[in-house]
């Protein structure tokens, strides 16, 4: 069982993601995480501001439970199923990240520069995290889905809209990493 504590290779994890999608279909639901963000808006009272949030959020309770499970999964995986897991990045990526100020590259699961406790007292980091989140939330709802709903479920169903959205995800990501990162890091 030692292998479980090691990072899981992509050819094991990829099919397990598809399995998650199948189980959700089998219990009569759909795989889509960003819908929860809309539900959370409604629960916070956004239904009083516009019609988009006027729906029976209780019908989405199952998805909030999946979301809560993801939190538990993150806790279990990091605390009990890992020996200090660190992504085995391409040495070129590590070198490049160090040049732009990410000293934690190759030493941590996520950059401590962005996700360490210091982040809460650094206005620039807070702005990066907040703006990143706003773009993800706005973009996911505008596109009608995120990586789970479009890139995995939608393309699995051979839907052209999901392919277009996924191409968009990549255009956006490439613009951010290649054109905007040099301006902010």
């Amino acid at each position: 069982m030692e292998w479980i504590l090691e990072p899981w290779p992509w050819y094991v994890s990829g099919p397990l993601i598809a399995l998650t999608m199948f189980i959700l279909l089998y219990v009569g639901k759909n795989f889509g995480m960003s819908s929860n963000l809309r539900t959370l808006c409604t629960m916070c009272g956004a239904d009083k501001t516009c019609d988009f949030f006027c729906f029976d959020w209780k019908a989405q309770r199952w998805n909030l439970l999946v979301m809560s499970g993801a939190i538990i999964g993150g806790f279990v995986a990091s605390n009990y199923l890992s020996n200090n897991q660190t992504p085995d990045l391409n040495p070129k990526t590590i070198e490049h990240l160090k040049e732009i100020g990410f000293e934690s590259a190759g030493k941590a699961y996520v950059p401590t520069e962005l996700f360490g406790q210091e982040a809460f007292s650094d206005p620039k980091t807070l702005a990066i995290l907040l703006i990143g989140g706003i773009l993800v939330g706005f973009g996911a709802r505008y596109a009608g889905g995120c990586t789970s709903g479009h890139a995995i479920s939608g393309i699995s169903n051979l839907q052209l809209p999901s392919l277009i959205a996924t191409i968009g995800f990549f255009i956006g990501g490439l613009i951010m990493v290649h054109l905007i990162f040099p301006l902010i890091f």
Binding site: L25, V27, G139
Partner: protein, 137 residues
């Protein structure tokens, strides 16, 4: 009982996201630098298996656990909404290094600044709801 099932599905998904490193900002960055097969292999195998599963469901009219046919709703035809929305999502995905699933996985893993990303994502969703009628769809 059903609630526990949903919670368990989410827990399984969260573990897979963490162990596959899809919840790692570094992996997202490396993917957009084209410096590893990791994320492409992850999504590629998920899709390969996913396509087979969905085709099997459709051809054999597989029913769900309640005996209802499994239907995956078709999405409305459009280009601007998927392309522009997709690009905005991609910008945020690369910047925050997390999409809506992994955000919650990272919360569980104890990287609490991700809560700022989640707050932003909720605000972004709300903002979309406020101005959606003015956007091209």
């Amino acid at each position: 009982m059903k609630n526990i099932v949903y919670l368990l599905i989410g827990t399984f998904f969260g573990i897979v996201m963490y162990k596959s490193e899809a919840a790692s900002w570094f992996r997202i960055y490396e993917m957009f630098q084209f410096q590893s097969i990791h994320m492409y292999g992850l999504m590629g195998t998920a899709l390969a298996v996913g396509i087979i599963i969905v085709q099997y469901i459709k051809r054999n009219k597989v029913k769900d656990v309640n005996g209802n046919p499994i239907v995956i709703a078709d999405k409305d035809k459009s280009i601007p909404r998927y392309l522009i929305g997709g690009i905005l999502f991609g910008l945020g995905w690369a910047l925050a290094g997390a999409c809506p699933g992994p955000m919650f996985v990272m919360t569980g893993a104890g990287y609490f600044p991700i809560l700022v990303v989640i707050l932003g994502a909720i605000l972004g969703t709300w903002l979309y709801g406020l101005i959606k009628d003015k956007l091209p769809h």
